[in-house]
């Protein structure tokens, strides 16, 4: 996916409102209108269930965050070799990486998740070797399948991005590094990888926001993240809109915090002429 498309799909640092821009007259009117709407929602809708579920909601948010960061980091670690192999690897690795990216990017994440959870999950118990291994207590849980599916998906999308980033590093820089007598590994570690990550950083951040938007899917395989907690609330209180509105608000805040954090880190990285 190109940087522009990621930008179109995910909220990015450029979209953050600037402080002084709120003081235009029409915005003040709009903000007052929005405030009236929020007050109406708070007063006219039922929120008495909220205190009872607060601790569980907190846990749910924590689970969502752990899912997001663990799968993003693992996915990125997978994406680096995926991208690198597509740029310099031998033809068979190149082909394998391409097929992997195409298949994962060409099918819905929900389907992959259910394939892993229901498909592999129903296959594993048939093998005594797996049932007696130390992994079995984990394989009976739902979260390893959620982590695996989200990681694989992130790796496939990010692998494409890293391929472009690796290919886009100017050849002269790599040749200069070689001319300094650096070994291939040192060139990769000191020049190629940092430059590629630098180039890919805005897209990487956008993809991480997209990953946050994918995490609630794990609730469909019984992982209790914030989405699952809200579903529970809906079942127990028979309310439709209040829990969903709260959930949307929670995700808005999470995305906002994530994007502000990314902007902070992006600004700390010195950039010249890129």
């Amino acid at each position: 996916m190109t940087n522009e498309t990621t930008h179109a799909l995910a909220f990015t640092p450029e979209d953050l409102p600037k402080g002084e821009s709120f003081l235009k007259p029409h915005r003040i009117v709009l903000i007052l209108f929005a405030a009236a709407l929020i007050v109406a929602v708070a007063v006219l809708m039922r929120w008495d269930w909220l205190p009872r579920y607060l601790p569980r909601l907190g846990w749910g948010i924590l689970v969502s965050m752990v899912m997001l960061f663990s799968t993003s980091i693992l996915g990125f670690l997978l994406a680096v070799p995926l991208g690198l192999v597509q740029v310099t690897g031998p033809w068979y690795l190149k082909g394998l990486a391409r097929i992997f990216c195409t298949v994962i990017r060409g099918t819905p994440l929900l389907l992959q998740l259910w394939l892993l959870y229901y498909g592999l999950g129903s296959l594993f118990p048939q093998f005594p070797a797996i049932r007696h291994s130390f992994l079995w207590p984990y394989l009976r849980e739902a979260w390893p399948y959620g982590v695996a599916a989200l990681t694989i998906s992130f790796a496939a999308y990010e692998g494409e991005v890293m391929r472009g980033a690796f290919a886009g590093v100017p050849a002269g820089e790599l040749e200069a590094a070689r001319a300094y007598g650096m070994s291939r590994w040192t060139v990769f570690r000191r020049i190629w990888l940092p430059r590629a990550i630098h180039r890919a950083l805005p897209t990487l951040n956008g993809e991480t926001v997209l990953q946050l938007k994918s995490t609630p899917l794990v609730a469909t395989i019984t992982v209790v993240d914030v989405y699952a907690v809200i579903s529970k609330v809906r079942q127990e209180t028979f309310l439709t809109y209040e829990p969903l509105l709260l959930l949307a608000l929670i995700y808005l805040c999470l995305t906002g915090i994530l994007v502000i954090a990314f902007r902070y880190f992006e600004n700390r990285i010195p950039t010249r002429g890129v």
């Binding site: 235009k24 099918t107 469909t220």
Partner: protein, 249 residues
């Protein structure tokens, strides 16, 4: 009996291909029906999204301050909240609102078809994405071309039809193509609200026969085929739209 014997034979092999047969004991026909529903929703939602996107992009670029801010809120919310949550909210809110509206007019409640609701939901989500894609594409059109069209005395509608839309198309097509692929995959999320598109049907078939891997792989192959066929058309379209452009590498 002959038939039971055949079933036993088929079960003996590792993969029971007869489960995918098109007629009644097999689930192939049901899967294809679900696939058709998915494509219908994707096409409808994508078209609705494009309409919203063209309106949204022009509103964001040329609209008044209030229009711009409201559209900004729309795209921000859709891009910051997971599709799954939006789909649930829009699904319930959309059908509720329509029924209340009809009730107020005096028509009484109607049963909204899942297909229409699905198209509406996917369309609203896609609308925000295509607003952003089209806005970027319109901004990439050299301002001089639009100014020249205005200087010729063309009305805004004519400028749009003759200059802005055709000139922005080459910039918009890669993004719009990605949005189409996303629309096809987002239809899977409607499984969560119980619409019988490909993913939900697959899960039902898998649950009924316990052949989970077979059915999920078959559905995956269908989705993948849709993506690959789309890619062929997208490639041709892109070449067509970019003719006359300097080839970049």
């Amino acid at each position: 009996m002959q038939k039971e014997h055949e079933v036993a034979m088929a079960a003996d092999s590792i993969i029971n291909w007869s489960l995918l047969s098109l007629s009644a004991p097999g689930w192939g026909g049901v899967l294809l029906q679900g696939f058709l529903h998915s494509i219908q929703i994707a096409v409808g939602g994508y078209a609705l999204g494009l309409l919203l996107g063209v309106g949204g992009a022009f509103g964001k670029l040329y609209g008044g301050p209030v229009t711009r801010d409201l559209l900004e809120c729309y795209t921000t919310i859709v891009r910051a909240v997971p599709e799954l949550v939006l789909i649930l909210l829009l699904y319930y809110a959309g059908t509720d609102l329509l029924n209340q509206l009809l009730g107020a007019v005096g028509f009484g409640a109607v049963d909204i078809s899942g297909l229409m609701a699905g198209i509406f939901v996917i369309g609203v989500v896609q609308g925000a994405y295509s607003t952003e894609v089209l806005r970027g594409a319109i901004k990439a059109v050299p301002a001089g071309q639009i100014e020249a069209a205005r200087a010729y005395g063309m009305s805004p509608g004519k400028v749009l039809r003759r200059v802005t839309l055709p000139a922005m198309l080459p910039y918009a097509i890669p993004g719009l193509a990605n949005l189409w692929l996303i629309a096809t995959k987002d239809t899977a999320l409607l499984a969560v609200v119980g619409f019988s598109e490909l993913t939900l049907v697959t899960r039902q078939a898998a649950g009924a026969t316990k052949a989970y891997l077979l059915f999920f792989c078959a559905a995956g192959a269908l989705y993948l085929a849709l993506t690959l066929v789309s890619n062929i058309f997208i490639g041709a379209l892109e070449r067509h739209a970019r003719r006359g452009f300097v080839e970049q590498r």
